[in-house]
Each structure stands twice: as structure tokens, then as C-alpha cells.
Subunit: 415 residues, 3 copies
């Protein structure tokens, strides 16, 4: 409206106290629903996905809340300095900043998945502090120096975050973790709580992958591709889970996690001309691979590589993230004017073959930042000053929370 | 933008591998929030509504997830062949396709409600395969041959889905189901889980009924009417529940289910000139009827008609769906230029009285497809090849899931 | 579209039966996502936040559902008479009416928080009936007579609702409430359920505070300010909780409640030029204050002022609401053309200093209506006709719900 335009014109060049400045435009208001969907994924999706442990639900959802709220403020600063810094040293802030901050935090929450139950809240804050910083640099290199595209963050978010967490977990290896093995499983209701997280992640993933794409067709394509990929992932995850369990029973761990792999794996290519059949194929394969990962690779990693991965982020984020980067590189390299049209090909900075190379390079950058950063931060976290729990107190909320008394004592009282 | 238009112009006539084709327009991006709301209803709403059984929460939310993800892919194909098939044999796909696929799946999930705990996942896949196919034919007849209107699907979704499920349940009657009666109830926390489903269904129903209406006024009206109808349903459902229980206590089953009946019953008429007071009356009556259904009709159906209806879909979907169809027919027949305006009356294909007849005919089609299709599919599901659970294993996740050990063993370990 | 315009033009002056009339415009359809977000906060947010008690989860989420559904219908009438009444005695109804009705209900749900577990459903209906009426009058005075601005309702909703509830709780003081002290705590899973409420409130608060602001920049600013304030609140709430507990453990009550105080406290000023750093400071302070409130003030209120505040709404709504009103008054008074621009200053009815005074006056009105109305309604609720629970039946769903048998009996049956 005229009224609003006048406000905007009036103050943007005047009211600039502190580090931040509003950067508003009418268009961005339309993005608010997409932002709220992403926000739900970060806080309810990741949070409740991590409530599956029988006695670490408070830590799962509570520490997720803490480090996400901390991380997004730090991310606004870090991403602001790299991307939105004006000539006057102020950081512009708008709805896209908020979505990008949530994305940035997602990387650290993925890393938390590998460490769930084995670290203290202070260690998580340190992990987030460094993780957000590394993320901002990595993102700047991938998007602004290499000119790769990564709308849904297969590389920038998932590959980076997963290898960051796995490397930290490798550095913090606990040989005697089996002392708390009695607490490493789930109970009936904690598995149902975790399904809240799974479903909100699954449902809003189309919004996640399309939130910062070019408004219009690109966004539309990204939502459709993600929707299809996720749908086919569910089928193969269930099928493989049933085939590999005794008596054909399903394992809740697979349903909670492997069903999401398809959303990770189309993150990069979702806005490209992946086509519906391409999305279905990617989802189909990732459902199989991710479930097999839970059955074979996670025990292997723990036994031989000394990587203890509580939530199995290697299967849900690392492998599908790398696949997503490769699919993105291939799809970009295979782009042609006959598919995208003369103008459409300008989605890419470079000719298709070269763009494919840049996409592959971006994947390597994400891997290097993840593994390298994780080893570095892991070394810091090994210092004996962070108050991490003893081996037999892992996966136990008693360490960090006032836990209410057992339910078992109620009926006695009530009768 | 020019950029996007150019992409679209460039590739729509070229890039057409596989069965599907993107069909994009700037307008449809605006529909994404509505799509996400419907998506939440299908996966969290229906899923958690079915977690109320003490030992079938995994099956409720997990199988709901499985068959919804399977069904929506099949629905994209089926509905595509009937509605969106281009001259070149490709199916166009856009956000409306995704919403319609979710709607289509809703019919099968309603049917699942009648069978909850008594069928195997393979039977559910078969149910969904046939259900989606029947739905697509029925929808084509109702919308494209009879030219009835049914924005919220009172007839197309709820009446069809409910009678489909009830007919299957009748075919699969288990005389000795009381052998698993110890598992047919809820426990305290499973009832709270079910409230998650109830509330997300209740809250997003305005989006459901308005998702595929004409953008603008029709959508707006549909949302308002649904909101009002649902609000008044809650009051009468609570009142009737209290009056008919001993000591005036409330029954969670009624609160979880009967409070939703108003949303079903305004599905057809929501986009018409039902007017706010009309919506309130419809919701008022349906809250009473649905709650009385749980108290009197469900036991009657089981005892005399041999229809075992686990979730009481007869009370939540079948009766309100039929009422919704009748209300729609009356509202359409009563339309006049003085109400809708000279142009507004063109919402209907025919003059009001005739349109009312077509609406009534559509209701009959939905009933026939539901009952007929259910008997047919029920006969198929009676074949002894589908691995259905024994009578004393019904309502028990142990049959199909790796269930974690009892919570009761925790405190002993922890002390 | 032309079609829709024609409908609108055609019927608005004709179809007017009953009390209500649709009032539609194309613009408002865009508001639907914001409405759905607010709706989620009212029903899932408030509802699940109140499930934390070990044996009052049904009452928390169920009665919340009941009185919200009742209250919003009454609010449509009440607010309609004050704000949207046409010359012909009809009330116009559109998406903004629905959002405002939800806002109005929020005040009563806040009041319920103080009384949770100690009142009967009939008392809650009476509380809501009077609460909505008082709210409508108070809102009319503040917005339409005093011309104060209060987009997120720090004063109109939170201050009024909290003091209304606290005054009623004072009138209904139960000296022997410790007879049900065994039920006043939480259990492990009920605390996780409450986190569902916390997170949905926290996540959608940016939509809440921006839902009825001027479309465009004001809405945008409100969302950003709320997002930042809430993020910083989480950090200080966690920090203070840890510092004041023995062994540095976190208390779930603080995480569930105090993390939300920042959203309350920027409610009034969110659409003003509070600036990002201002929002962060407000959130920072409120996190500290609210957590200290749970530790020191709630026991003090109960012991010396005889106010029993089950959910601690004094810390989450009353104090932050008053702070929000003060921050709003200061921000308004400090407005200058150099900040808002010549036109922007017209956001206010009066010159800045005077507007600040009006804002402060509005806060007093909210306080008076809350305390005065609460004492009045509390006196009514003390009549011995409402079926309130005995002191030793408080916080117990058994009084009003058919509660399923104990979980403890399952394993015995299953073995």
C-alpha cells in the first residue's frame, strides 16, 4: 500500500542502530508460510525425532530447543556478515534471513543426532558455535565463490552437518558406552513421540526444499519433486525393513528415519528439471540404501571405525546428502536448452557440463568442511572442562534435568 | 517473472519423459500453504487419531503413513488418467494434483479406521490399491459426468470411504474378536496421543474444505462455514457425551471423534451460500448425532449387522457424510439469483432445482461405489493369503512390529 | 476474478439471514495461513501446554478444546456487536473476525492456566462467557476509544487474561489444596506432551503477533521482532533455570513456560520500530524475569497472597504482558519522524509523546478489567452450584472423565 511504501522509503536509510537493519519488501511477506513450515521442522521435527530414547526425551527435545534458539541468533550474525552486510556495516534482516538461519541451525541439529545422549549442553553450545561459523563459511564458498546451486541443502546442510557430527563422534569415541546400554533403547510411548518428529519433517519437507528457491516455477517444481521422492522412499524403507527383520516385522527405527532419506537426496536437484520420474527413482533408491544402512552400516561404523552414531545420521543425512550432491551434479551437467529453454538454462551460472563440475566441487567442499571441522571441534570438545556425562550416565536425563518421579508410584498413591 | 515464464514456455513442450509432466502456473504457488495443511491432516491428523489403542499405536500411525504414501502415488496415476491426461499421453502434475491425491488417500484412510487392528499391512495395500482406483472412477463420475459440486468431499471422500470400509469390515466379520478384547481399549497416554490427531484434523479442516474451491470468495466462504460448523459440533458432542455417561463424565472417544463430525457435514455445502447460521445448525445437529452414534449405533452395528467398526467411522464419516450430501443438495436446490446474484448462480452447471437433483444423484453414486466396492474388495481380502492376524492377536503391534520391552522393566534396571 | 466479483457484488446486499453476514475481499484470502497458525496456537499450543500434570492431561487438552470452541462463537457475537455491526444489525464476518475470535479466546485460556485442575467444566464455561464479554468491552475501549495500538495483545490479551485468571484464583482460594499434592506434579511422558504445546506456541508466535497488523512492512517487522525476542528468551530462561537449581540441573517447568515470555513482551511493540536489538534485549530480560518468577514469585503468591497459580501464568503472561505494555508505550513515545518517516508516524493516531500516554492508559484499562472482572466473576464462581471438585480431587481427571484403567495392568494381562 501507499502507506507502507511511504514508511519503507522513509526509514530504511535512517533507523539503523545496532548491528541489524530491517530489509523489507512486499514480496517477502508471501514467504512467511514457508518460513513457518521450516520453523516447525527445526523445532518440532528435529526435536521430537530425538525423543525416541526411553530416558532421554527431555534432552532430545529440550537441548534441540536450546541449541536451535542459540544457533539461529549466531547464524543471523554469521550469515549476515557473509551475505547481507551493507556498506555501513549493518546487517540486513528479512524473512529470508530467518529461513537461512533455520537452515544453518539444521546442520548443527543433524550433528547433534550423532552425539545424542553422550554430550553435555555446554558441549552442544560449543558444537553449535563452531558449527554455525563453519557453515557460514562453507555456504559462502559453495554459493558465492563456486556458484553451485543447492536450494534444499543436500550438500550445504546435510552432507556438512552429518560428517561434522560423525567426525566429532569419532573424536569423542567412548569404548565403554555399553555401560549405559540399558538406556539405549526406546519404550513404546517414546517411539510414538518420535513419530511426531518424523511426520512433521516428512510433511513439511516440500516447503523446506522450496523455501528459498526462485519464486514461481522453481519453487513449484521443488515442492513436487520432494513430495514424490519422499512418498517413494516410504515404500522401499518399509519393504526393506520387513525383509531384513525376523518374521517380517517392521522396525520403528527404520520407519522413523529411513522414510526421510528421499527428502535429503533431492535437496540439490529439486529445483532442477529432475522430472517426476527422476524424483521417484531417487526416493526409491534412498529408501533401500538408508534402511540397509541402519541394518549393516551403523553397527559396522561403531565396531570398526569407532563412530558411535546414536540416531544413525550416517544413513539419514550423510549418504543421502552425498547422493543428493551427485544427483544434482548429474542433473546440472545433463541440462540442455531443449529441456530448460533458451532462457531457463540461465538458472545456472555456467554452461551445463561446467556447472556439473562446480556442483561436484561443492560436494567436496561440504565434505572437507564437515570432516575437517568435526575433527577440529571434536579435539576441543575432548578437553576435560565441559562436564560431559560418565559412560554409565549416557542417555540419561537424570544428569541434566530434574526428572519427575517414576510413573510406577502413581497407582499405589491413587488407590 | 520473465525469467520463469521463459523457462516454462521453453520446456513444457519438450521435456516429457516418463508418465508425468509438470504443469505450473504462478497462481498455484499460492496454494502451497493450503496443500501443507491438508498434508498435515492426512499424516498427523489421521495417523495420530488412530493411536488411541493401548497396544496398536505403532500400527495406527505407522500403517497410516505407509498406505498414505503408497496411495498418493497411485492416486496421482489414477486421477491423472481421468483428469489430467494430455494428448500425448502424459499426466500433468501441479499443486492441485498433490492436494487431490491427498484427498483420494483420505478415503482409504477412513476405511482403515473401521479395520484398525484387524488386518495385515498387505491387506491394507490391497485395500488402498482398489480404493484409490474406485475413488478415481467415482470422482470422475460425480464431478465430470454428473457435474455435482463437492469441494470438501462429504460425498466423494467421506461417504465413499466410510461405506467402503464398513462393507469390507462386514465381509471380514470376526465372530471371536472378543478374544482380544483386553487390547481393545485405550490407556491414559494413548488417549492423549489421539488428541494430537483430533486437534490437527479439527484445526486444519477449514483448509481442507477450501483447498480446491474457486480461489477468492468461494474459498473464503468454505473456510468460514467449516470453522463455524466445527465449533458448534464441539459443544453438542461434549454435552451429549456428558448427559449419556454415568455421573456426567466425559468419554474421550466422543471428544476425539464426534467433535469432527461438523467438518464432514459441511464438506459439500461449504462453498455454497450455506450462511453462518446454516453452518452452526449443521454442526450442532451433527455433534449430537455423531455422539449418539458412538453410544447406540456402533454396538448395534456390531451385534446385529455384524459390522465391527474399530474407530467408529460410521459415526464420524458415514452419517455426517450422507448428511453433508443432503445438505449440499438442499442448499443447491434452494439457490436463487437473489442470493447468489445473476452471475453467481453460474457456480452450478444447471438451474438450482436440477442441480439439487444432480447432487442427490452424486450421493447415490458415492454410496453405491462405497458399498459395492467394499463388498468386492472384502471378498478378495477374505482369501487366506494375506497374513491377517488371528482373533487373539488383533489390536496388537507384536504381530507386525518389533515392539520394545515393557516400560515396567525400566525402574528395576535403573535402581 | 470477474466471476467472484460478480458473486460478491450480487449477494452482499441480499443474502442476510440470521445474525451474520460474510464480508469477503480477495485480500483476505491471503491471511488464511496466518489464521491457521494462530488456530494451532490456541488449540494445540495452549491445549498441550496444559497436559503437564500427571493425571490431568485429559482436562488440560480437553477442556481447553471445549472452552476455546465455545468462546470463539461467543467472541464472534461480542466482537461483532462492538466492531463489525452493519446498519442493518448484521455482523460482518471474515478471516479477520476468525483471528480476532481466536485472540479473544486466548485471554480466557490464559485465565484457565491459573485455575487448571481446580474448577469444573461448568465453571470454565461461565469464566469464558464473562471473560469474552469483558474482553470485547476492554478491547473496544483500548483500540477504539483510547486509540492505543496492540497488535500482539500484550495488554489486551495477556495482561487482561492473566490478571483475570489470578483474581479468580484468589477468590477461589483453597486452603487445603495440599490434600491433592500427590497429583500436582508431572510424570516423564506428561512433560514431553507439554513440550508439544510449548513448541507450537513458540514457533507460531511470529504469526500471532503479526496476524492482524497492517499487511506488508508492519507484518514483516512484527514477525522478525517476535522471532528474535523469543530466541533470546530461550537462552536466558535455560541459563537462569540451571543456575538456580541444585547441581545445575534444568527444570522442565521453566523450559516449558519461561521460554515463551519474550513473545508476550514484544506483543505491543512488535509492529513498531522496536528494532532487532531492542527485541533481543526485551527477550533477554523477560527470560530472566519469568524464570525467577517461577522460582521465587509463584511460591510467594501462594503463601502470602493466597493466589494459587497452577501453570504460573503470573510469570508467563502477567509480568511479561505488563512489560510489553510499558515497552510499547516507551517505543511509541520515542517515535520520531527521523525513524518512521513523515508518513510512517501516521501509524499512530496522536503525536508520539501523547500516543505513549495513551498506550500507558490502555495498560491501566487492561489491568482494571482483568482484576475487577476477575473478582466479580470469582464471586459468581464461589456459588456452591457449579460442581467444583473437592480439595482432594483436584488435578484428577477421574472427576470429569472416563479414565481408562491403569497401564500397569497391561503386562500382567499380556503375559
Amino acid at each position: 500500500t501507499v502507506f507502507d511504501s511511504a514508511i519503507r522509503a522513509g526509514w530504511t536509510d535512517r533507523m539503523e542502530k545496532g548491528l541489524f537493519r530491517y530489509q523489507l519488501s512486499a514480496l517477502e511477506t508471501r514467504v512467511l508460510p514457508g518460513f513457518q513450515d521450516v520453523h516447525v521442522m527445526i523445532f518440532v521435527g528435529f526435536g521430537f525425532l530425538m525423543t525416541f530414547l526411553k530416558r532421554y526425551s527431555f534432552g532430545g527435545v529440550g537441548f534441540n530447543f536450546l541449541i536451535a534458539a542459540f544457533g539461529l541468533q549466531w547464524a543471523l550474525l554469521m550469515q549476515g556478515w557473509f551475505h547481507h552486510l551493507g556498506d555501513d556495516g549493518k546487517i540486513s534482516i528479512n524473512v529470508y534471513s530467518m529461513i537461512n538461519a533455520d537452515f544453518c541451525v539444521a546442520g548443527c541439529l543433524i550433528a547433534y543426532g550423532a552425539l545424542l545422549g553422550k554430550v553435555s549442553p555446554v558441549q552442544l553450545m560449543v558444537l553449535t558455535l563452531f558449527g554455525v561459523t563453519l557453515f557460514a563459511v562453507e555456504e559462502y564458498i559453495i554459493l558465492n565463490l563456486i556458484y553451485a546451486k543447492d536450494a534444499g541443502g543436500s550438500m550445504v546442510i546435510h552432507t556438512f552437518g552429518a560428517y561434522y557430527g560423525l567426525a566429532i563422534s569419532w573424536m569423542l569415541y567412548r569404548p565403554n558406552l555399553d555401560q549405559s546400554s540399558r538406556l539405549q533403547g526406546s519404550v513404546y510411548h517414546s517411539d510414538v513421540f518420535a513419530m511426531i518428529g518424523t511426520l512433521f519433517l516428512w510433511m513439511f519437507w516440500p516447503s523446506f526444499n522450496s523455501a528459498i528457491t526462485e519464486h514461481g516455477d522453481g519453487q513449484h517444481r521443488a515442492a513436487i519433486n520432494t513430495y514424490l521422492s519422499l512418498a517413494s522412499t516410504v515404500l522401499t524403507a518399509v519393504a526393506v525393513s520387513s525383509v531384513y527383520q525376523k518374521h517380517g516385522k517392521l522396525d520403528m527405527v527404520h520407519i522413523q528415519n529411513a522414510t526421510l532419506a528421499g527428502g535429503v537426496a533431492v535437496g540439490t536437484a529439486a529445483e532442477f528439471m529432475l522430472m517426476p520420474y527422476g524424483s521417484l527413482i531417487v526416493g526409491f533408491c534412498c529408501g533401500i540404501l538408508s534402511t540397509l544402512g541402519y541394518i549393516y552400516i551403523t553397527p559396522f561404523l561403531e565396531k570398526y571405525l569407532k563412530i558411535q552414531d546414536t540416531c544413525g545420521i550416517h544413513n539419514l543425512h550423510a549418504m543421502p546428502g552425498v547422493i543428493g550432491g551427485i544427483v544434482g551434479a548429474i542433473t546440472a551437467a545433463a541440462a540442455s536448452e531443449s529441456v530448460y529453454g533458451t532462457e531457463g538454462i540461465k538458472l545456472f551460472k555456467f554452461p551445463p557440463a561446467q556447472q556439473g563440475g562446480h556442483q561436484a566441487g561443492a560436494l567436496c567442499v561440504a565434505l572437507c568442511f564437515g570432516i575437517g571441522g568435526g575433527i577440529l571441534v571434536g579435539a576441543i570438545l575432548r578437553l576435560p572442562i565441559w562436564g560431559d556425562p560418565a559412560d554409565d550416565n549416557c542417555f540419561d536425563d537424570e544428569s541434566y534435568w530434574e526428572v519427575p518421579e517414576e510413573e510406577e508410584s502413581i497407582p499405589a498413591v491413587m488407590q
